[in-house]
Symmetry: C2
Subunit: 360 residues, 2 copies
């Protein structure tokens, strides 16, 4: 299960070196170099019921330097492989935008950032590794809090240990934390919450101590590096992941992307937590707890109908909740529990939901 971040980086560098070696070999043999990768076209993306996520099928896309139409993306991809290998070697990270501008230093032409983003995703498909594995990180960051000891692997901090309980505002899940070894924890569970306000409430009300939990603020739909970190907490430390969102179809979908991934990332299989559980706030909870609500907008209802037809939502529980949203036309926010008191969500709602999980 566990792959050390250092081992992981080495694997990626090995894949990149092999890619480079293959190009050289082809040239030495007098053959036009070519690369091939799984097709990411809609036709080649299928839902895998066992894995509970979208995956790419058998179709393969080839890019040959023999084909004049292929030369542009072929060159861009090989340059990118060179560039990220250098990042890994120097222990530096980059962003999608930085990669776009960096290309200009090498006279590699991208007409806009969309084109370089596309090539970055191609390299993901080619290597079957997420771009974070080759040090291209998002700008947005989530945060985590609780009793977790980590050990950095980034240059300048290698081997240093830190217990995340030392900063109650939460630790950013950036490049350093993403690549740290997870040394030990006393936690038995991870609560991933959608909002910073609730995250702070959980910290202040000592959810980490009372429920022996790590608390993650996903800050809305979590960046992929956070989804990957949740997966690590689940797989390496064996912690169950419980997701708590606003009561609306978009909130449910934050959970679903954590559990089952997205079609956009079908070429990656290491971003999901298939056993993650949505503990609310459900459409039913709005009624049970008599929460203040606002009326669903037309677009919310349209979204609920879309999700009903999405294979990831085929379970009866999800169908029931989607039907409830459509029928009652209500949505509610996590903060709505403050109607009773600021402590209510921690003191009453959370235990109710955990009891519900145990009984099922």
């Amino acid at each position: 299960m566990k792959t050390s971040p250092i081992v992981r980086k080495k694997e990626v560098r090995k894949l990149l070196t092999e890619l480079g070696a293959k190009i050289y070999d082809d040239i030495n043999l007098g053959v036009f170099p070519e690369i091939s990768m799984p097709s990411r076209s809609v036709k080649n993306i299928v839902y895998d019921k066992d894995l509970k996520q979208y995956v790419v099928g058998q179709n393969v896309v080839k890019r040959s330097s023999k084909n004049i139409k292929h030369i542009r993306p072929f060159t861009q991809t090989i340059w990118l492989a060179f560039f990220v290998e250098k990042l890994l070697r120097e222990g530096k990270t980059s962003t999608l935008r930085d990669v776009y501008y960096s290309a200009q230093a090498f006279n590699i032409d991208f007409k806009d950032q969309a084109e370089s983003d596309e090539i970055i995703t191609d390299l993901e498909a080619l290597l079957r590794k997420a771009r974070e594995d080759y040090n291209v990180y998002p700008e947005e960051r989530s945060a985590i809090y609780g009793d977790l000891t980590i050990e950095y692997t980034v240059p300048g901090h290698e081997g240093k240990r830190l217990n995340l309980v030392s900063h109650p505002d939460g630790y950013l899940i950036g490049p350093s934390l993403s690549t740290a070894e997870l040394v030990k924890t006393s936690a038995n569970v991870v609560f991933a919450v959608e909002k910073g306000g609730l995250f702070t409430r959980f910290v202040e009300n000592k959810v980490h101590e009372r429920y022996k939990a790590l608390i993650v603020d996903t800050a809305g739909q979590p960046p992929r590096s956070t989804r990957y970190f949740l997966r690590r907490l689940n797989q390496e430390l064996g912690l169950p992941i419980y997701v708590l969102t606003d009561a609306d179809p978009y909130g449910m979908h934050i959970y679903m992307v954590i559990a089952s991934g997205s079609a956009n990332a079908a070429h990656l299989t290491e971003l999901t937590v298939p056993t993650a559980k949505w503990i609310g706030v459900t459409a039913t909870d709005i009624e049970t707890y008599k929460l203040p609500y606002v009326k669903l907008k037309d677009e919310d209802i349209k979204r609920a109908y879309e999700l009903k037809n999405d294979p990831r939502y085929k379970d009866a529980t999800f169908q029931k909740e989607l039907d409830m949203f459509i029928k009652k036309q209500k949505k509610a926010e996590l903060e709505a529990f403050s109607k009773y008191s600021l402590d209510y969500i921690v003191d009453k709602y959370l235990p109710d939901k955990l009891k519900g999980i145990k009984e099922n």
Copy 2:
């Protein structure tokens, strides 16, 4: 200059208690209680050239329980004062949204969050204290990195010290860090940068060591708690604040709000750093460094003309740069320096700008 966060909280609680006592006294004397606060209407907001910021004038707004039209906001304000005093007493924080929902627990009616936000700002004007002083925090958070030792004052962590150099992804500037004592630093300067990507570049290229700096990621226009934290770094530790943004009128304005505040917060005088300096990226820099640029949109140019008439921009340097934006019609991003190399902005641009400051 320095006010300890603990002393500060005590002051606010004292102000709240005095407000409550005055209401009781009025009632005991058989007088209808009333409150008064500086008017926040446009007519009462003036630019103070010496303070280099907007301030409220002499006009006062009264709310009397004798006046039927005043009873609603009067009651809401008094409830809010009660609610935040409880927050302070219990060492808990809240958000604007939480306050809105919390009112329902007390049968205090707000027709929407806009109405409760308005009352929260009224209480700011009444007490002349920012809402963060009475524990109402924003959701968005910036981050900081560098050699700074802090000592927490929040419950459960009081007296614990932490050096912020221990987490290279950056520390979130949330309630705990905002209220921590600033114990000591080896830094001589603070660089506030607009973007997470550049923040990480600065950390990886050891700007904190090479320039003896603290690095702050403002994440766009910084939340007020971050502006207040920058002010504390400036006033309590005597550190100059240098702001680095994208080269466009919106980037300049990120700097200007840090330096001179906004008309919206004219009733508060402790959110600005009048000595903060904008070190770029300027319109002139786009030419000097031959940066990749995109054409300014009509709305960018409109914004530049607006800023030219804004009293905060009357200095010749700002006028010159605004004219340059209007003339050249170019804007560029911080990442544009990657055209030369990922290190260029740290190794070449930053020293150039610091040299420029010393020579002026």
